[in-house]
């Protein structure tokens, strides 16, 4: 070879084979983790979702705990004591003010717990009513979502797994229910159930909950499970075709076992996200109905009914509207943001 030699600057000692450790040192692999761990990590990083979650937790805990020790109850009309003339000095108090009777009590050395949000037109402590209303709204929202989830899951899995004629018929039914304008049907059912249920549940445990809420649950159970059912069915259909179902069947596994062990765990993230986003819409429906007067029975408050009542005295006591409005908005907003955050964190399609 006549060409000029290629020139390098090397340390000849380095030209011996590298050891495995040296090679491994070069490669700093990112630690792999499971799907859930990854998702949770992502979720926590999402500040908005995290804050929303905290807000929801705080509100929920307050709704549960506060009524336990608060000295006023949501239904007691202060000033109305059976056998004595009505004392209207308790009515329409502004926040942190005292009625005449109460001022007398203080002058006498008694301790009177302040009315943080004042009282309403019937002399009830407004703060505790708002808190109780929150409790009602949250409970209804939560349980309604659970009902929807359960029914939707059962219906959807059966339809999806069975396939064929059964699936077609079940889905046609879903289509029809889905095309029904839900709010109108809800209002219709609610207004009718209200009247028919009362005599039915008299004397039973359910009376305590109130016919309106029961009718609300019935309405949800009848109408709102369809989206969830469709979603689950879609998941099942796509998973059905996956390899491992075939292999499980090859080993003799029966239908039900297949559904439970293989298919459902994979839908879980989708289900959870959908359920999480279902709660705010349930709460919204409940407060909407309560606003129209079709929701909870008086005197039980709900955030919606409180808002409706507040419309009457709006010019004088605007805070009576603003407070429940703010709470509902916080709850629904918080749940929506959290649900969005969940979806961003766990939805495999959105990543990479």
């Amino acid at each position: 070879m006549n060409k000029k030699p290629f020139s390098v600057q090397v340390d000849l000692d380095q030209f011996i084979p590298a050891t495995e450790e040296e090679k491994a040192y070069l490669v700093q692999m990112r630690p792999s983790s499971t799907f859930f761990k990854d998702g949770v990590k992502r979720l926590v990083k999402n500040k908005v979702a995290f804050i929303s979650f905290l807000v929801i937790v705080v509100i929920t805990l307050s709704a549960i705990i506060i009524p336990m020790f608060w000295p006023y109850s949501y239904e007691t009309q202060l000033g109305v004591v059976p056998g004595r003339p009505v004392d209207s000095s308790y009515n329409n108090l502004t926040p942190f003010s005292y009625g005449r009777t109460e001022e007398e009590m203080i002058a006498n050395g008694e301790k009177v717990f302040p009315h943080v949000f004042g009282t309403d037109a019937a002399g009830r402590d407004y703060f505790i009513r708002v808190v109780y209303g929150t409790r009602v709204s949250l409970a209804v929202g939560f349980f309604a979502s659970v009902i929807v989830l359960v029914i939707g899951m059962i219906y959807g899995s059966i339809s999806g797994y069975c396939g064929g004629k059964v699936d077609i018929i079940m889905m046609r039914i879903v289509d029809i229910i889905y095309s029904l304008p839900d709010m109108l049907m809800v209002i219709l059912l609610a207004s009718v159930l209200r009247m028919t249920l009362t005599p039915v549940i008299e004397g039973t445990v359910l009376e305590g909950i109130g016919s309106n809420i029961i009718s609300l649950f019935i309405v949800f159970a009848v109408l709102y499970w369809v989206s969830m059912a469709r979603l689950i069915r879609g998941q099942i259909l796509s998973l059905r075709e996956q390899e491992y179902v075939l292999s499980a069947q090859a080993t003799g596994a029966r239908g039900g076992w297949i559904i439970r062990k293989h298919l459902i765990p994979n839908c879980i993230s989708v289900i959870i996200i959908s359920a999480a986003l279902q709660i705010p819409s349930a709460i919204f429906t409940e407060s909407y109905l309560s606003f129209l007067g079709l929701g909870v029975n008086a005197p039980m408050p709900s955030l919606g009914s409180l808002a409706a009542d507040a419309l009457n005295g709006l010019s004088s006591y605007p805070y009576r509207l603003v407070i429940p409005a703010a709470v509902i908005s916080l709850i629904v907003l918080g749940l929506n943001l959290f649900g969005d955050g969940l979806r961003d964190a766990f939805d495999p399609k959105l990543n990479g």
Binding site: D175, I176, S179, L180, P181, D182, M183, L184, M185, I187, L188, L189, S191, V192, L193, M195, T196, P280, F284, S287, Y288, F291, L292, G293, L294, G304, A307, A308, A310, L311, L314, S315, P318, L321, V322, A325, I328, S329, V332, L333, N336, L337
Partner: protein, 309 residues
């Protein structure tokens, strides 16, 4: 239009008709769960009206016969019978009056939502992650989470009562501004977000990359390639938007005292004017179902990719 599309339209049409029939039937039988039935008024009804009911529906006849009569009247003549509580007025007339006002409200709210929503959504998508985008996202998230009656009440409290610049009563003219805004807030926010995410999605597609690789310029990519594809999801929202406006109007008309069909509906429930409740439910439901049908068909026509279920 090819035969496949025609077939699809026919199928959807039949489903819509069937669903309307289901609505009528469900409404009828559910209302009969009320003690005594919906056509028997309480003491507040005049004997004249009561007699009219009896003649019309044959209240002593078996239920199925009553149902048949009702169905026939509704379907052939749009006759929902006389109102139980409003003397001398037929349900359909009451509905007609109410619809005039509510339709005006609804159409204006819907149109402005679409226009504003699409524009804001496109702006947000094109200026992704910049300040304007973040502001838009925050605002829309807020408005999407607030129930219409909350917004309405707050707007009423703020503008009508505290500031006094807009009338609280919604009967005419300026009084309609607040109700329209209230109704339009949620759809606008929703459409904005929808347009934004749809456009972002489209802009990330391979065919946009192809267009760029061919040398197509920025604005042309947006208006030519991206916009059409981005708007398709917005189109599918028209049906739900109408449903929202209908249900929203129930509360909005209550809050602002607008004499529309929404308020009439709520009043009829409170007053137990059952024929009016039934008639309104059916008409509004039919409206929503038809709107959904039109949306579905339009979607199929616009996007040639959509295959039949």
């Amino acid at each position: 239009m090819d035969s496949k599309t025609l077939f699809y339209i026919l199928k959807r049409l039949l489903l819509a008709v069937f669903t309307i029939w289901v609505v009528i039937t469900v409404t009828f039988f559910v209302m009969h769960a009320v003690p005594g039935g919906p056509f028997v008024g309480e003491k507040a009804t005049t004997p004249a009206v009561q007699a009219a009911m009896e003649a019309k529906y044959g209240l002593d006849k078996p239920l199925m016969v009553q149902y048949g009569t009702y169905l026939k009247d509704v379907v052939t003549k749009l006759d929902f019978g006389p109102s139980l509580k409003q003397r001398g007025r037929m349900v359909m007339d009451i509905i007609g009056d109410g619809m005039r006002t509510s339709a005006k409200l609804g159409v204006i709210a819907a149109c402005s939502s679409v226009v504003v929503g699409v524009v804001l959504g496109a702006v947000a998508a094109l200026r992704r992650n910049k300040i304007i985008d973040r502001v838009i996202m925050v605002l829309t998230t807020a408005f999407v989470s607030m129930p219409s009656f909350i917004m309405g009440s707050l707007l009423l409290a703020l503008f009508a009562i505290k500031l006094g610049i807009l009338p609280a009563n919604g009967s005419t003219g300026k009084g309609l501004i607040l109700p329209i805004i209230t109704l339009a807030l949620y759809p606008t926010a929703y459409i904005t977000r929808l347009t934004r995410s749809s456009m972002l999605d489209v802009l990330g597609q391979d065919y946009i990359r192809t267009a760029r690789a061919k040398g197509v310029s920025g604005p042309r990519i947006i208006f030519g390639h991206a916009l059409k594809n981005s708007l398709i999801p917005v189109l599918t929202y028209f049906g739900p938007m109408l449903a929202y406006i209908v249900t929203g109007s129930l509360v909005v008309e209550q809050i602002f005292a607008v004499p529309g069909i929404g308020r009439a509906f709520v009043q009829s429930i409170i007053n137990r004017d059952y024929p009016l409740v039934m008639g309104t439910t059916i008409i509004l439901a039919a409206l929503i179902i038809i709107m959904n049908l039109i949306t579905d068909i339009l979607y199929k026509v616009v996007d040639p990719r959509i295959t039949l279920e």
